[in-house]
Amino acid sequence: MSTEYSLFMNDPDSVCEKQGEQMKTQQQLETIRRETLAVIGLRRAQAIIDGTTGTIAANGLSHIMVCAGTGCASSNSAAIIDEFNQQIVKHGLADRIAIVKCGCLGLCAQGPVVIIYPENCLYKMVQVADVAEIVEKHLLNGQPVQRIFGGHLDETEHPTEITKFFSNQMRVALKNCGLINPENIDEYIAFDGYKALAKALFAMTPAAVIEEISASGLRGRGGGGFPTGRKWQFAANSSASEKFVLCNADEGDPGAFMDRSVLEGDPHALIEAMILAGYAIGAHQGYVYVRIEYPIALERLSLAILQAKNYGLLGDNIMGSGFAFNLGIRLGAGAFVCGEETALIASIEGQRGTPRPRPPFPAIKGLWQKPTLINNVETYANIASIILRGSQWYSAFGTETSKGTKVFAVGGKINNTGLVEIPMGTTLREIIFDIGGGIPNGKQFKAAQTGGPSGGCIPAALLDTPMDYDSLIAIGSMMGSGGLIVMDEDTCMVDIAKFFLEFTVEESCGKCPPCRIGIKRMLEILERITNGEGKAGDIESLQELAEVIKSTSLCGLGQTAPNPVLSTLRFFRDEYEQHINDRKCVAKVCKQLINYRIIAETCKKCGLCAKFCPVGAISGDRERGYLIDTHKCVKCGVCIGKCPPKAIEIN
């Protein structure tokens, strides 16, 4: 049997050829692994993976990895791939250089990103026009194109902002993202893919699998932080003949995109883990619930499932072990509450995604009233490594109660927007300043928000907080799914709290009154405050409502919705007071509380502001100068953009 490896398996024709292939045995998978590794092993440079080294083929071969994650794809990385292909044909390099589209490398701010192996060099913000130069200078003459050169990722002596972004990370869940072609199952197999599954099916009992997961200390990465092994044990305890394994890929937390990255960059890691979970709890059917907003992820996951079926890794007799497991995809339709597990189950059943009271927990009565295990994508992405390398290896990372690594989606006012995976317990300061490259434009760090609409903010004074489940809870925030939004001095904390409440009001399913009515009342108070109509007692009302909503809401959405308000009140109470008492917004965000003024001394009397003001609020002439009528002014900011000497200020 031929297992000839093709780098071009992403072209639909070769996928079709693969259809109808026979089930692969463990030995046959081993052969695929060996043969594929001989080709792609040259990518296994040390820096961004977890300490393991592979064989490096030093025979003049190169692999050019072009990021095709959502961020880079939005900056047209597909055209870059085409251009590379044309250039290498033009230079007669097609037999030595492979252009590979890969998943997200995490450095989204500098996209489109290209990595060249085996030298492990990164190019940033690559444009189609740069491609010819990269081929001629770098590939043919060994000279980096300095203009867009991001650095040698293996080089540690002269770290740059970009090499530090990678070298301070530790990748387990994202280990293959950016390293393999996610549309090619053989590449996943080459880097030890489906090896954990083989180990479990042939050498471990289901109980031993659960034992290993429990011993690793892995906790749910979707937000709750419940011990994963215990969840698996509950589902395994039931003697029902039919059970389900679900994956929550309804990543609704705004600003968090690690689950999408796994789906786009390493979909087989999820599939392998779900089969392992099925084996451990005795389930034979799984569903992945994916949000519709992720078209690329959906496409790659569908393809991966098809490839796994063709290799007999999904189906009735996996690797000849006799174990059966099938996997389907269910689409979300844009409802944040469906990230809550009972709501997610209702949505998979085709209903309105409203949560129901627990108990009974899904492990007892879940999908179609059968015992059901639900984990989040990132949780699953850790499973195969734990089974393969052992719980002790995994639990060596992290803190006493938060083991392993966590992926954070770092965004907002930070230089290196993107995905970072770090051992639990790394401080916020390290994430923002060492890995994230600090705050742009010389601005001051003000706060970071973790946990999205369910979480809270961390002020500058607490920058040394270790990022783990318990430390974050202790300061009134939470891990959530790992969204981390950085805010600088231009962000108004009252406005941010209002922003999150607008989100939860919109996304509340309406089933329970504390959430449906209570959050709305809180939002109305915040709207008054930001409109300059705050009054004494508002802060106390907010606090009282928050406590009632937290303790009486039906599900996690309502129980955590007041957190952004409570947390900003805790650390930035003075801002609330300034809004209410002094009618002042120091960040100059709340429009009703600011005024525009022309500084007469700086004004050159050119009249551009008056010409462009959309509401005619600026009067005067070139002799006497200009004035803004604050009653007419709508604070749109057009005049500031037009004024050549920057003579317009905001008070």
């Binding site: 990543e251 409802a335 907002g412 959309p614």
Partner: protein
């Protein structure tokens, strides 16, 4: 709606009946049927709901309940170009609010509405995960990133 393409309408109807029947035996597939119907019609008009009700076999009330629950489903017609401004947190702190306001002002419509000539419709959408490009918006399948309100004219001109 007065429309000259009667045939297209009948073809859509036949296609939707087929979709509804195909899914009928799959437990819990109403959301999938609605996704396909919306793909076909661009939104979910009453006639589409009636076809689904009849051929998939669920009451109209249940269909309406599901449609109005999920943000992705629309009962209103969309424009030829659907502008969705991302309101995820990363985009918000980088100024997607003023960006959205500028679109409202330029197009003279509110979020959820469509221009009278059916050319543009405007939506505020949930995080699309392109936070590295914040603030970001999509117009149909095109993604535009790192925008400021002053870019609005330039973007709209691309779709003239």
């Amino acid at each position: 709606m007065s429309c000259c393409c009667k045939n297209t309408y009948d073809e859509r109807k036949a296609r939707l009946i087929e979709i509804a029947k195909n899914y009928k035996s799959t437990k819990g597939s109403l959301i999938a049927v609605l996704h396909e119907a919306q793909e076909l019609y661009g939104y979910l008009p009453v006639e589409a709901q009636e076809i689904i009700s009849e051929h998939y076999g669920v009451p109209m009330t249940e269909i309406y309940g599901v449609i109005t629950f999920y943000g992705q489903f629309s009962l209103k017609e969309k424009g030829k170009y659907r502008i969705s401004v991302c309101m995820g947190t990363a985009c918000y702190v980088k100024g997607s609010g003023p960006l959205l306001d500028k679109f409202k002002e330029k197009l003279g419509i509110n979020v959820g509405d469509c221009t009278p000539d059916k050319k543009f419709s405007l939506e505020a959408c949930r995080c699309i995960g392109a936070c590295g490009l914040a603030p970001v918006l999509t117009i149909n399948k095109d993604v535009h990133g790192r925008l400021e309100p002053k870019d609005v004219d330039r973007i709209l001109a691309l779709y003239e």
